[in-house]
């Protein structure tokens, strides 16, 4: 999606026409009355910009309730996403581990470095289409896009900062104070507004312009290999990596381990039947988001396919559909990889509106 950040609602009022004295005054009254009654959720879109559901996507999970979408809020969220002010020693930002050029995953490392270089314990996932996510993290422990950012900000292995401190630092920054004033009409920045602004940006990370998407929109024809790969994918992978988001958001054990050092979903539910299960990851931009799996153990897609074909480890929580693996010939593997490459969305990864703001 490409959109511009230039026009604001206020420009739609034709000030030129409001020329003299009383007429200007009366018009201002009208403007005042209109504005004073406008509720947060009634902001009228004035141009083409904004959250748009691609026609072949399901309904999004996040609907901007109590956090109506505006450009100011979005660009404030973008400022925050790229600002290391969110971390303890002002050393890392969200973008340090979620780089646009890598489909918003980390720079091809298994584990990301937090403040002071401490390594995390799971692979930084690629981010896209987050407004459709019912849960976040490999174990689904976080259930709302607005409260999401508390996780990385406070995790000692990531930004290692307290919400109270971040809010304090933001309030001590006059540029942020005026941006929050403009975006949310608050004199003092609260944790709620900071989290809502971040959610505005995260929800706009929409990847819908890959070859696959163009195929869905009828503007691209798959090559023979891509097409064959698509059919194989639908038959063998789509039960979990369901189109068009390439995840069904369930938790499954795909057989990468027989015993579990990371309990995954089981840690959240405290139910042994969930041990070793992880959220099915989206495969959008997967070509560029290696290494793969929750611990970044595989560096190539062919290693991943070898795993499904011949490497499934048995355990009590293994997904029953994988009990005897997914038989794949060498040729089938290549075709599936050809299809997976059609999920690479260069428009998304180069979209200037999602890039680091230049101030």
């Amino acid at each position: 999606m490409v959109f511009s950040l230039i026009s604001t609602p206020i420009q739609t009022f034709q000030f030129k026409k409001l020329f003299s004295g009383m007429r200007f005054f009366c018009s201002m009254i009208l403007v005042f009355v209109l504005f004073s009654c406008k509720k947060d959720n009634e902001i009228v879109p004035v141009d083409d910009w904004g959250f748009k559901k691609p026609s072949y996507f399901p309904e999004p999970h996040y609907t901007f309730e109590n956090n109506a979408q505006t450009k100011l809020r979005f660009s404030l969220g973008r400022d925050l996403f790229y600002d290391s002010i969110l971390s303890l020693d002002n050393s890392i930002s969200c973008a340090s581990c979620h780089a646009q050029t890598h489909g918003f995953s980390d720079h091809n490392v298994a584990f990301s470095a937090g403040v002071n270089g401490t390594l995390g314990v799971r692979n930084s996932p690629a981010l896209s289409n987050l407004a459709w996510y019912p849960t976040f993290m490999w174990d689904g422990g976080i259930v709302n896009i607005e409260t999401f950012s508390v996780g990385p900000i406070t995790n000692p292995l990531e930004m290692h900062e307290s919400i109270l401190n971040v809010v304090g630092k933001l309030n001590a920054n006059s540029a942020y104070r005026s941006k929050f004033k403009l975006a949310y009409d608050v004199d003092s920045i609260t944790d709620q507004k900071m989290l809502q602004a971040l959610a505005q940006y995260m929800a706009m990370l929409i990847s819908d312009d890959s070859k696959y998407d163009k195929f869905k929109k009828g503007t691209y024809t798959f090559t023979a290999d891509e097409n064959a790969g698509y059919f194989l994918f639908q038959a063998k992978c789509a039960s979990c990596h369901t189109e068009p988001l390439f995840t069904d958001f369930t938790y499954r054990n795909n057989g990468i381990d027989a015993t579990f050092t990371d309990l995954g979903r089981g840690m959240i539910t405290q139910n042994a039947a969930d041990n070793g299960k992880f959220k099915v990851p989206s495969l959008r931009n997967v070509q560029l988001t290696y290494p793969y799996m929750h611990d970044g153990r595989y560096f190539t897609l062919s290693q991943v396919l070898d795993h499904y074909a011949t490497g499934i480890q048995s355990s009590s929580t293994l997904d029953p559909s994988l009990a005897s693996g997914i038989p794949l010939t060498a040729d089938e593997k290549l075709k599936i990889i050809a299809f997976l490459r059609t999920l690479t969305d260069y428009t998304f990864m180069a979209n200037p509106d999602l890039s680091e703001p230049i101030h």
Binding site: F25, I29, C37, I142, V167, Q192, Q196, I268, Q270
Partner: protein, 260 residues
């Protein structure tokens, strides 16, 4: 006189603004408190074991069941969704009713409700914890602000109760219990009803003064059946351990009296 006619014009316009503003904004207008409502406070008083000892932070206590020595540095918990039952059997619901009771901050132990319709009330209903809806909703404000440090960042949900402190009986010298959980078998949410005339008199709300409901809280109840902190000195997630402690704590909250 020009100025006079301008003045007249202005006042007409002002009237028009007032008219417009009122009619167009009707849905936003909330009724002003009138003489038909009054205030009620629910006071949570903290005691150790019985009424003879006040409970405070940074004070050494011996636990009557486990014999553990406990010196609290933190004791706070959520009480929410206050409701009052009228004499006619209908309930009055306190709006946006979320309170973080923090022993460190005396004013937080007094839960104030305003705009309560005057009349006689027979019961109070309150919830320990934060209802499931707010646990999964977007970023909240007030008592539910995440800056209160009562929210699990990695396993979404509010920490309903934090009890932390130092103890020679703990293998680490300290203890830290973060109790919560809003869903399924591990839910620690519980709603309690207090019938005023069981031990006191009915609550009479009047516009002339604030009525009070006094509650007694015994933090020692956390270990009523949980066992010594020598075995478990930390709980930081929902689960059966958290549930046992939270239930014992809530069941130990007593209604003392109504002061009209």
């Amino acid at each position: 006189m020009k100025t006079f006619s301008q003045y007249k014009k202005f006042s007409l316009i002002a009237l028009a603004i007032a008219g417009l503003t009122f009619t167009s904004c009707k849905k936003e207008v909330t009724p002003e408190p009138t003489a038909t409502t009054g205030s009620v406070s629910v006071n949570f008083e903290h005691k150790w074991v019985d009424l003879s000892a006040n409970f405070t932070l940074n004070m050494e206590y011996i636990h009557p069941v486990t014999n553990d020595t406990l010196n609290f540095t933190t004791m706070k918990y959520y009480i929410s969704n206050l409701k009052l039952k009228k004499a006619d059997g209908t309930w009055w619901t306190h709006p946006e009713s979320y309170f973080l009771v923090d022993v460190e901050n005396v004013s937080s132990t007094k839960l104030s409700m305003s705009n309560v319709p005057v009349g006689t009330y027979t019961e109070l209903s309150y919830t320990f914890g934060v209802d499931s809806t707010r646990n999964v909703s977007g970023a909240q404000t007030g008592a539910l602000s995440i800056a209160k440090d009562m929210f699990w960042s990695w396993n979404s949900g509010y920490i309903f109760l934090k009890a932390e402190g130092l103890s020679a009986n703990s293998t680490t010298g300290s203890y830290s219990f973060h109790l919560g959980g809003f869903s399924g078998a591990n839910s620690t949410l519980s709603t309690k009803n207090v019938v005023f005339n069981s031990v006191s008199t009915d609550l009479v709300v009047s516009s002339s003064h604030e009525s009070e409901i006094s509650m007694l809280v015994f933090p020692d109840k956390l270990w009523n059946t949980a066992g010594s902190i020598n075995t478990t000195n930390t709980i930081h997630m929902p689960g059966s351990g958290a549930k046992t402690m939270a239930n014992d704590f809530v069941n130990g909250i007593e209604f003392e009296h109504v002061h009209n």
